[in-house]
Amino acid sequence: MQWGVALTTYKPPHWDQQTVFRNSLELAAEAERLDFDDIWLLEHHFTEYGLCSDAMLMAGFVLGATKRIKVGTAIVVAPINHPVRLAEQVALLDQLSGGRFLPGFGRGYFPKDFEVFGVDPKQNHLMMQEWIDIMFATWRQDGKISWKSDLIEIPEITVYPSLASKTRPNVYVVGESPSTIEWAATRGLPLLMNVPQSLEQTRAKLDLYSEIAETNDHDPAEIDHVISAVVHIADTREKAFNEIVKNVENWHDDAMRVAFSAEQLRRLPNYRFHWSLLQDAILKGESEASVVVRRALDISPVGTAQDCIEVFGNLTEKTGVKHFICGFEGTFERERIFESMNRFSAEVMPRL
């Protein structure tokens, strides 16, 4: 099993920005001390939903502040970056950290990102996929790359530095829609997934992934898929739930305020999957934040240590996934976050 810690950099009303980052860095240090395997950084723009506006930059800082633990991005919004710049940054962090950097990419879900950085959201899925292909081509060819497509033209150049690692680092991708999952599976790229989906939905994703991966000569059992989850430990399940439910609802509300609206999703052909999920939620009468969050927390590792063991054990048994990112920040209280992390490290990790 591999255990990660998410640094959300969410700014609740009672923390100022310095407190958010100070807490994040202390959490990173604590994660290393408690033998977690990795730390994951989230990137957001123009919202207090996450103050980290450059996950690569912050990863560099955290890698420099730690010795052993790996640091990943979950995720960098690939389409708003130049692919050569991404290849440079990943290789640079790979060199500087001695292979401790875990790059993760997504296409993005917040319309302002695309508006401000001048990217057509109708094409962001194609850009994410092509940008990753460009990075791979660069690393495959000792840094040499030239590229011409409908989306981008790159003259013949040599990118420095090259990777320090002998093998290409695992590049993690957010795979929600079947089209993205199929694309990732053809390349054997591990998926970044969330617990809020039901176990069966996660299984369905991995079933589809395996179908495609196998026919492309990738052994699905060897793929390091990652599932992230809100985690909180208390003496009872009820107490754990009640300590975080309102905060998670607020966090979810903040995200929804800046995410694509239902109307925008309906008009974006490349977000049909997300639109159909929303439609389904409406049909089920479960589109309200409070319902979504409560349903998600019901199946999350939130409760006693034993509850967490059962949830993660079941997830591993049913999906085969053995790598998890834990979001411990649900209480928005520094001491409780550290306490929960420590209990998780002492009471859960050794028993799985």
Partner: protein, 497 residues
């Protein structure tokens, strides 16, 4: 048509079975749970496209909830709404389960992508058809509310209750049949055990998994169980012995097996084996090209494996012209509905049939790769039908010549023009035909249609009646129904006036 015309086939290649390089692992779905096979304890099933591994049947004693009916108090409205939501998921190209379904159907059941996609669309349409489901209840049970409440029927109030536990033994020839069987069973609130077919283990399994995708805890999800057991196995027999109803699709062997193991009094509902044919008028004034297109569709859908698939075509008028038009239509049809993977036995049967009729001097047109063949044959030279889009054409002088081919094994008679059927429908019905349809609609069961001579929903429920008390006069009666007094006073003449 020349004695033998070979079409080189500009469409897709007809494929013969080549085992898939990998093994497909399919779970059982039991009571809302996805039960994966334990390595070393799997059952290996030979599907048309390769080996499918499923859990061992030994698990069943521990996990099958045979006694509790979770749907007993769920309203029809809730069941139809649930099915509708599942259908909404299936209609989206971006639904993960749909993608998996299409891929597995192509790889392991030998379907072409077009056919598998059409099946996925059909699953979506079938599940989403809420209004049609309500109307089907009305048509087959006499009242759309009869599962939810007591309904007035003459001197009684009647309610339909589920049989209880219904076992469905599926055949692999028509994927949508699996969906229909499950849907009918759940709509009538039965606990539903499905034995998936080795020819198509995918459809029922992925359907059940899609229920779990929506809501694994919903009573509909928890009332559907998909399993597999080898033919004639003791485990399968013991499941049927527990059943309150059995639906069997397919061959005589499966039907006989179900009858052998069902408890006395348990209704064994059988679908098939049946055969179907078309009657075409191809006179100078008739639209031969349209008739050929419609017949080609009835032949091509499900590659002539369905009970409703046209195998023989009786032709009044210019049979040669119709044969040529049908050959063209079948060649066109292969582009729309590419043939599935065929095994060596099927390919051999096709060649054997052609050689057999060549020997008797029949006029034959065929695709070079065996995708289809049109044989103008005398009925006495036909000994068996090989399927695989073989149209056996029989020239006839008048419609009465068709009667010799009719008995109770005939399911569907399709005609073009449809008006031909009108003068003959009574006699065809008396001889045993179940359905009379227009050519091109053999596989489209219209609302209100019977299926193999009965209404399936009525076979999946038991009707319970509350009969009116003595104080209620029956229609036409002028006194209370006090049987003791009636006997005493010898008033039988006043009964049931």
């Amino acid at each position: 048509m020349n004695d033998k015309v070979v079409h080189s086939g500009a469409g897709s290649e007809t494929r013969t079975a080549k085992p898939a390089g990998r093994r497909l692992r399919l779970p059982f779905v039991i009571a809302g749970k996805n039960i994966a096979a334990v390595p070393g304890e799997e059952q290996l099933v030979e599907a048309p496209g390769g080996v499918v591994a499923m859990p061992g049947i030994g698990l069943l004693d521990d996990i099958l909830p045979l006694s509790e009916n979770l749907l007993a108090d769920v309203s029809t409205q809730d069941i139809i709404s649930f099915l509708h939501r599942v259908g909404k998921m299936w209609e989206s190209d971006e639904y993960i389960r749909r993608r998996i379904y299409i891929k597995q159907m192509c790889e392991f059941t030998g379907y072409s992508e077009q056919m598998a996609t059409a099946e996925a669309d059909l699953i979506a349409a079938t599940l989403r058809g809420g209004a049609r489901l309500w109307d089907t209840l009305q048509a087959e049970l006499g009242d759309r509310a009869i599962l939810d409440q007591w309904v007035r029927r003459e001197d009684c109030e009647v309610r339909a209750l589920p049989k209880g536990l219904v076992v469905h033994v599926l055949a692999g020839n028509v994927p949508i049949a699996a969906v229909l069987s499950v849907l009918r069973s759940l709509l009538t609130r039965n606990q539903t055990i499905v034995k998936v077919a080795s020819g198509d283990p995918v459809t029922a399994t992925q359907l059940a998994l899609s229920f779990l995708d929506l809501d694994a805890q919903h009573p509909v999800s928890r009332s559907l169980h998909t399993l597999y057991w080898p033919n004639n196995s003791r485990a399968g027999a013991s499941i049927v012995e527990h059943a309150d109803g059995v639906c069997v699709w397919g061959g005589a062997d499966a039907v006989a097996w179900a009858h052998r193991h069902a408890r006395p009094g348990v209704d064994v509902v059988t679908f098939g084996p049946k055969r179907s044919f078309s009657v075409i008028r191809a006179d100078a004034g008739d639209d031969i090209k349209t008739a050929a297109r419609l017949v080609a569709h009835d032949i091509s859908m499900y590659d002539q494996q369905a009970c409703f698939s046209t195998q023989h075509v009786f032709v009044l008028g210019d049979c040669t012209a119709f044969a040529a038009a049908l050959a063209d239509a079948l060649e066109h049809s292969r582009k729309i509905i590419p043939p599935p993977l065929r095994n060596i036995d099927q390919a051999a049967a096709v060649r054997l049939t052609r050689s057999h009729h060549e020997f008797f001097g029949a006029a034959i047109a065929c695709a070079e790769d065996g995708a289809w063949q049109v044989i103008v044959a005398s009925p006495e030279h036909v000994h068996r039908h090989p399927g695989a889009r073989t149209a056996l054409l029989h020239p006839i002088e008048n419609f009465d010549d068709v009667y010799a081919a009719v008995d109770k094994s005939v399911q569907t008679v399709a005609a073009h023009p449809w008006s031909m059927l009108q003068p003959h429908r009574d006699r065809l019905a008396k001889l045993g035909v179940s359905r009379l349809v227009e050519a091109g609609l053999s596989g489209t069961f219209r609302l209100g249609a019977s299926h193999d001579g009965f209404y399936p929903l009525a076979r999946l429920v038991r009707f319970v009646s509350i009969e009116a008390p003595s104080s209620v006069h029956s229609k036409g009666m002028t006194m209370a129904l006090d049987m003791s007094k009636i006997v005493e006073h010898r008033q039988f003449r006043d009964l049931f006036v």
